[in-house]
Point group: C3
Chain length 385, copies 3
């Protein structure tokens, strides 16, 4: 019986097996999985009732890693530098205690701009007019003394990346992405989802919690004000959940905000990250640029998420809490359970999108298990070669 459809290279058969085990164990579960090795397809699978091979869906914060490819592209071309002060590119930013914040600080969640405070962003300040959202953030004092903490800028990091790109190119991040990165590769991943593909869009589910997870959530202390402010910082139509700012809202997916607005497929993600590897056929940036973006800049107790965390410039790095790949790998997870990354130590690029949403807040246990097994297969094949 074929449970998952698609292609798997012989040396990655164990990955298919694990993927199918997951499908069998939970009938509602559906997923896409793509693993490329040095740009060649090693695994491309879809299974379960909801996501087919050609489905496209939202991936929340996995979008941040894709937006980071635009940052890498601009660093490669000398238009941005991580060790420069943000105010060099964006003079209005250099105020209220943020004068010496560098681009590297900003992109590794260190600048204390995780939320507008007081106040909230109007919906269009997060979407079509993020330059106005950025202008409001620029004048604000940081939420913590720069240097004293880092904390996940869940929504604002997108506004901040968008403004940096605007300042140094005069174009939107989404436009640079589409023209310079997605287009030439014909990658199935969009920041700004075209209307003519809407019939392939599969809506995100509401979060599904197991009974165990529900009990844990009920026992958890109430959310800290800072975290709550971060996650409810946009005046969206439905501001009690994140659906107002999810890509289920057509207005959101049409704009494709850099923080959470990406729509695509697992193979689209794996294809993009393949060109972030040293083996890239059409490199987005040089190995040195990605190495610099993948160096850990933030480590410790995340002030917003209240967990131990590890970030490079934008990228969420493999770490004890989420050991998804080898040393030097870089990528991002997303609230619905998706994960995408590149791992120079194996040449693997990886995309995974599950349905329904399992673990609000990041990659689920399946994504990490699949990613680790893919790594083992690659290493075993290398050792036997």
């Amino acid at each position: 019986m074929t449970i998952a459809t698609g292609h798997v290279a012989d040396e990655f058969e164990p990955v298919r097996q694990l993927f199918e085990d997951f499908l069998v164990a939970e009938p509602e579960y559906s997923a896409q999985l793509a693993v490329l090795r040095n740009g060649e397809t090693a695994v491309e699978l879809a299974g379960g009732p909801t996501l087919a091979a050609d489905s496209l869906t939202g991936v929340y914060s996995v979008s941040k890693g894709v937006s980071a490819l635009v940052i890498a592209y601009l660093i490669e071309r000398g238009m941005l530098a991580l060790d420069r002060r943000v105010a060099h590119y964006w003079p209005e930013f250099g105020t209220a205690g943020k004068e010496n914040v560098t681009v590297g600080d900003l992109l590794s969640h260190r600048a204390g701009l995780a939320a507008l405070n007081p106040g909230t962003f109007a919906f269009d300040e997060f979407l079509e007019h993020s330059e106005q959202g950025a202008a409001r953030l620029a004048t604000q004092p940081p939420l913590w003394l720069p240097g004293s903490a880092f904390g996940y800028h869940a929504l604002t990091i997108g506004i901040l990346m968008e403004e940096l790109v605007r300042r140094v190119t005069g174009r939107t991040l989404q436009d640079v992405y589409d023209t310079e990165i997605r287009g030439p590769r014909d990658a199935e991943f969009y920041l700004g989802f075209p209307e003519n593909l809407d019939d392939r869009y599969v809506p995100l589910s509401p979060p599904v919690l197991t009974e165990q997870q529900q009990r844990e959530a009920a026992a958890r202390p109430p959310m800290d004000a800072l975290a709550q402010t971060v996650f409810t910082n946009v005046d969206a139509p439905d501001d009690l959940s994140d659906h107002g700012i999810s890509t289920n809202n057509p207005r959101v997916r049409r704009v494709g905000p850099a923080a959470i607005g990406g729509v695509g497929s697992a193979r689209g993600l794996a294809r993009l990250y393949a060109d972030a590897l040293p083996s890239a056929g059409r490199p987005i940036a040089s190995e040195a640029v990605f190495r610099d973006m993948a160096i850990q800049r933030s480590w410790g107790h995340d002030r917003v998420l209240d967990v131990t965390n590890s970030f490079g410039a934008v990228f969420l790095l493999p770490q004890p809490r989420m050991p998804y790949a080898g040393l030097g790998a870089f990528g991002h997870d997303g609230a619905a359970g998706a994960l995408a990354f590149a791992d120079p130590s194996t040449g693997i690029s990886f995309g995974y999108i599950p349905w329904p949403r399992q673990h609000p807040g990041g990659a689920d246990h399946r994504s990490v298990a699949l990613a680790r097994l893919a790594r083992e297969c690659a290493l075993a094949d290398e050792a036997s070669a």
Copy 2:
């Protein structure tokens, strides 16, 4: 049946209900609760067998937040600045690796002066002659490399604040407090408790642990030497417990050491913090000064308390472990379970004092629950207005 006596504005009725639930659940429990909203009394309650409306009692480290009001007062007047080096005001301090420690570092528990070591403070070096205690601390190398950690300066932060105030005013912190802050507001909270009020003083109880808490305490590993040194650093008459340095000792409450020596009522505390809000009738300092003192300067694993913690300048901030108020709020808890703070995001100022002592080491679950509920009431009322 009236269980708690006092006044509650209609929109805060749920707070009275919760307060009464606590009283009903535990017959020995007694407490004062005061909530002002933009300086107007919203809640003023007392209940239970021990604390009446006009009781005055000790609040341990809640005193630190009150002492911080003196610091704010002096910053407002240009006499102190957080970003200046301590040695600028106190030349003898600038030695043994502490040359570049700023006032902001010192007041956010970063300077590594959490205890005298080796040695201990004579009782009078903590009380009437804290200038001598300060002189001993000034020459000492820090307990950790400045910049590498922060840790609660449970007792010494008082000595250090007192010396800073002495250096820039020539007066004691207690005198500045009494003359400039308490007096003009006739606030029922004292640093230096007058003998003629002793008949209103209700003694602190020894810590009371539930069976569950006793089991937890027994299972806990022994206290680290640094923490033990911090908490037994004063040669008090009864140095095996904290009663020798508690305000039950008349000599302690007469002096009112800035770290732990305050005595007063919940309404006194709420009244003081009301004048730390933007809506203050008689502001202790400007909104900008309090915003700067309330910015997070320390975050992470507290080297002394061995918990995750968050501090501004002196103030203990709302945080995941103790989410007592909104973003931008500032206050302090105390070992006996008391809590007091100001929250600019709602205009609330808050004072709460329980008896007996429930959770050695900080605000109890009731204080946080009451504070959060008061916030919800204020926000609901605002939304319906």
Copy 3:
């Protein structure tokens, strides 16, 4: 019935009792314990079936503390300084983002050189030719942005110490140790174990886990790539366990690598640390030098070990997770359960070596309990004097 043999001063009788309790409770358990007080033997015991009074065995990372004595010796003589940049002594090091790393940073696990990456050390680059291992590390970018984290440099800290010593003395760390530190004291602890003592060498056991520990290990998430890289960074003959680089391998113990290659006895360790105390008969370095090396330079979440940790320069400090001694004490634990330290607050120097290996990764609960009890005995005796 005499269970443990050896000498115990009257005031330390409780320590003998606890030691014997441990022996009775677990028949396979064997250990050496030595406590000196201001250089005089207070406890010297051996018990159990494997380790006798004159046994010599490997102690893994306890070796780091002994190697640190060589560093102290050189600091005392002005040949090294913690606040100097590493590149001052070792120009090739000052590259790829490590230009401003100080000796103090490097020795407190902050420099991000916890592993070679990509690649691994050839066995001889870790042993006879660590200058070649050092040369490879010198050119490497750090694994994290210097200043953003610290993490246990389990193996590389030895290579790095060895290179520093080579640069400033022209000799090997092991030679300086043997000539200047071990020899004059005739201490039973070797970095470079002589062949003629091999008949006294007791092999390290494989790790022994209780059922409870096995369950815990099975439930633990897989090891993070960074940690895994750190612990498998040497191409040893048996690279699936640490036995290839343990002192059971004669080649390893003959060289005695500074990180993990020491062999000796508990009394040898206690004897060495006695000369690191202010009461030293033949001080290795002055009190000021050891105070500076014992100041905490790293605190928080260790990026490699994934636990809270506290380091001075090389030395692992007493801390909440391992409260082995008083404030100002310094020493090191080892993977097989051994522990050695000096505690200026009591004048105690301490050596303890258990068999079989109980807790991979550090001092076992017995070591901390014995060390704390020895401290209590010393303090009680002082109080009664």
